[in-house]
C-alpha cells in the first residue's frame, strides 16, 4: 500500500538558515503550523530542487520523529506548501 496522504495546503513555516553549515543543512524547516497543530521537525531526510516550468521549487522531506512530511518552498512566490505526509505507523 502507498501510505502517502496528499494534502497540498499552504502552511506557515519557520525555517532556519545557517550561515556555516554543510550544503544539505543550510536551510531547514524548523516548525510548521498546520491547522491547529504546531509540528516541530527533528530530522531533515532530504532536500532537493525541482522545477515547475521555470519556477524553482525546493522540496524538503522532513520528519517530526513519528510522521514524514513533504514541504515545498516556491522560491518565486515565497510560499510553503505541505504537499503530503506519511504516517509513521503505516
Amino acid at each position: 500500500m502507498d501510505p502517502t496522504i496528499q494534502i497540498n495546503e499552504i502552511v506557515d513555516v519557520v525555517p532556519i538558515f545557517r550561515g556555516r553549515a554543510s550544503e544539505i543543512n543550510v536551510c531547514t524547516p524548523w516548525k510548521m503550523k498546520y491547522g491547529i497543530h504546531e509540528v516541530v521537525f527533528t530530522k531533515l531526510g532530504m532536500r532537493h530542487p525541482t522545477a515547475k516550468g521555470k519556477r524553482m521549487i525546493h522540496v524538503f522531506d522532513v520528519s517530526d520523529g513519528i510522521n514524514d512530511y513533504r514541504l515545498e518552498f516556491d522560491a518565486e512566490r515565497l510560499i510553503w506548501t505541505l504537499v503530503s505526509m506519511v504516517e509513521g505507523n503505516s
Binding site: D2, E23, G45, M46, H48, P49, T50, A51, S63, D68
Partner: protein, 416 residues
C-alpha cells in the same frame, strides 16, 4: 599462468545500493528498516521497479507484481517514483566523483566509473581503498546518512563492477591479479556481469560450465566457436583484467517504445499513442541536436507475432509532425491483430542543420514554429503545447524513469 593483467588496479566502480528505494528511505525516515519499494504508477498490477534491502531479504524482487509482493509481506509499502529526487542524488554523486578525477563516466542513474589513470600523483600515497572508504563517508554526509554505496576496484571496468557486487550491500572490494582466481572459483557463469541466460547456454554448449572454465577457455575457441566474432577475444581479455570497454558509443538511433496499457487493435486507441511516441521522439532528437533520415515502426502482438518496418528518406527530418507523418505511413501497413507493445525509432542521424539559413520559405516557417513551441515547453514544462493528435495518447502514456542511459534525464525533469 592465465596471462592475467598485473597492472595496478586504478578503475573504481561506484554503485548506489537499491538506489530509488534507498533514496525514498532517506527522504522518509519512517520507512527506514522496513520492506518497501518503488513503482512508476501505482495500480493493482503494477511492478516493483526497486526494492529496499529489507524487502529483498524477504524475497521481494525487482519486476515482481504488487499483488505478489503483498502476498509475501502484507505490510509492504510501495511509493510512486520521484524523478527529481533521484536526479538530485545522481547530481550529488557526480559532484563527489568529480573531486577525485575528471575521468568519470556514469553508466546509468545509479552507477558510475572513476578512472584514476594519470591521477596517481594526487592520491598522495593513499590507496584506492582509502579513497573508496572516504567516498562512502562523503556520500553519507553530503547526500544522506541512509545512503549506502558499493565500491569496486579493478584493473578494468568489468572487474571493478564485479568487485562492487562482491559483498552487497555497502561493500568495498578490489579484484586484481592477486585474488582474481579466488573470485572466479566461487562464481557461476550468470553471476558475471554481461553473461545472461542466452550467453550462459551458449557457453554451456561448449563445456564451459562456470567462471573458472570460462577463464580457462582458449581465445581461439571463444572467438571462432563460442561467440563466432571478435566478442570472443574481448571476453578473453576482459576476464583477465584488460580494458575492453573504454570506448564511446555513437548515437545510432533515437526513439520510444511503449507497453500498450490495454492491448488493442483499434486505431482510435493506438494512433493517438503513436502520435505521442512520435512527439517524445522529436523532442529527444532536438534535445540531442540531431536530425534523422530513417524511421522505423515495430509492433508485437498479443499472439506472440512481431512486425517491423523501416524506411529511409532522401531528406532529413526532426519535427514531431514529420516523424508522425512518416511513422503513420508505416504503421498503417501493419497486419491486423491485438497490439501488446509498440515502438518507433529514427536512425541515420546527422548533426542538426537548424541553424543554417534556408532558401525556402516553408522550411523556415516549420523551423520557427518548432522552435517557438519548444521554447514555450521549455519555459512552462514539457507538453504544455502539443499536437491535437496526441491528446488522448498523453492521457494514456505515462512518462517513465530512464534505467539505462541518463542522456534524457534533464528532458524528463522538465515535465515536472
Amino acid at each position: 599462468m592465465y596471462g592475467i593483467n598485473k597492472e595496478e588496479a586504478l578503475i573504481m566502480h561506484i554503485d548506489l545500493n537499491s538506489a530509488f528505494a534507498t533514496a525514498e528511505q532517506q527522504a522518509h525516515p519512517s520507512l527506514r528498516g522496513k520492506p518497501m519499494g518503488v513503482t512508476n504508477r501505482i495500480s493493482k498490477e503494477c511492478c516493483v521497479i526497486a526494492a529496499s534491502y529489507e524487502a529483498k531479504a524477504l524475497g521481494i524482487k525487482v519486476g515482481m507484481r504488487r499483488t505478489e509482493a503483498m502476498a509475501i509481506c502484507p505490510t509492504f509499502v510501495l511509493l510512486e517514483t520521484d524523478p527529481p529526487k533521484y536526479n538530485a542524488v545522481y547530481q550529488k554523486l557526480i559532484k563527489i566523483m568529480l573531486t577525485y578525477s575528471d575521468k568519470i563516466k556514469m553508466k546509468s542513474i545509479d552507477e558510475g566509473i572513476i578512472d584514476f589513470h594519470g591521477m596517481e600523483h594526487i592520491l598522495n600515497g593513499r590507496t584506492l581503498e582509502d579513497i573508496g572508504y572516504e567516498i562512502k563517508q562523503r556520500v553519507k554526509t553530503e547526500i544522506g546518512d541512509w545512503m549506502k554505496i558499493n565500491v569496486g576496484i579493478g584493473t578494468n571496468r568489468f572487474l571493478a563492477k564485479e568487485a562492487a557486487g562482491w559483498h552487497k550491500p555497502d561493500g568495498l572490494d578490489k579484484i586484481d591479479h592477486t585474488n582474481l582466481i579466488k573470485y572466479y572459483k566461487d562464481r557461476e557463469l550468470t553471476d558475471l556481469s554481461g553473461i545472461a541466460e542466452r550467453y550462459g547456454a551458449r557457453l554451456n554448449a561448449y563445456g564451459i560450465m562456470n567462471a573458472m572454465d570460462f577463464l580457462k577457455a582458449p581465445e581461439y575457441m571463444l572467438k571462432k566457436q563460442v561467440f563466432k566474432s571478435i566478442n570472443g577475444t574481448y571476453w578473453y581479455q576482459r576476464l583477465r583484467g584488460f580494458e575492453m570497454d573504454d570506448h564511446e558509443t555513437s548515437l545510432g538511433m533515437v526513439g520510444r517504445q511503449w507497453v500498450v496499457k490495454d492491448p488493442s487493435d483499434k486505431d482510435e486507441y493506438l494512433l493517438p499513442c503513436l502520435s505521442f511516441l512520435c512527439e517524445t521522439t522529436g523532442m529527444k532528437l532536438r534535445y540531442r541536436e540531431v536530425e534523422a533520415r530513417g524511421v522505423a515502426v515495430w509492433v508485437s502482438y498479443q499472439n506472440g507475432e512481431y512486425w517491423h518496418q523501416r524506411r529511409m528518406h532522401k531528406s532529413t527530418f526532426y519535427t514531431n509532425q514529420e516523424i508522425y507523418r512518416r511513422a503513420l505511413e508505416l504503421f498503417n501497413k501493419r497486419p491486423h491483430g491485438i497490439v501488446r507493445t509498440m515502438g518507433i525509432y529514427t536512425y541515420m542521424l546527422t548533426p542538426s542543420q537548424v541553424s543554417q539559413l534556408s532558401m525556402f520559405d516553408d522550411i523556415t516557417k516549420v523551423r520557427n514554429i518548432t522552435k517557438a513551441v519548444d521554447e514555450i515547453n521549455d519555459f512552462y514544462g514539457t507538453f504544455t503545447v502539443y499536437a491535437g493528435t496526441s491528446l488522448e495518447g498523453k492521457k494514456i502514456i505515462k512518462q517513465k524513469i530512464p534505467f539505462g542511459g541518463t542522456e534524457y534525464f534533464d528532458l524528463l525533469l522538465k515535465t515536472a
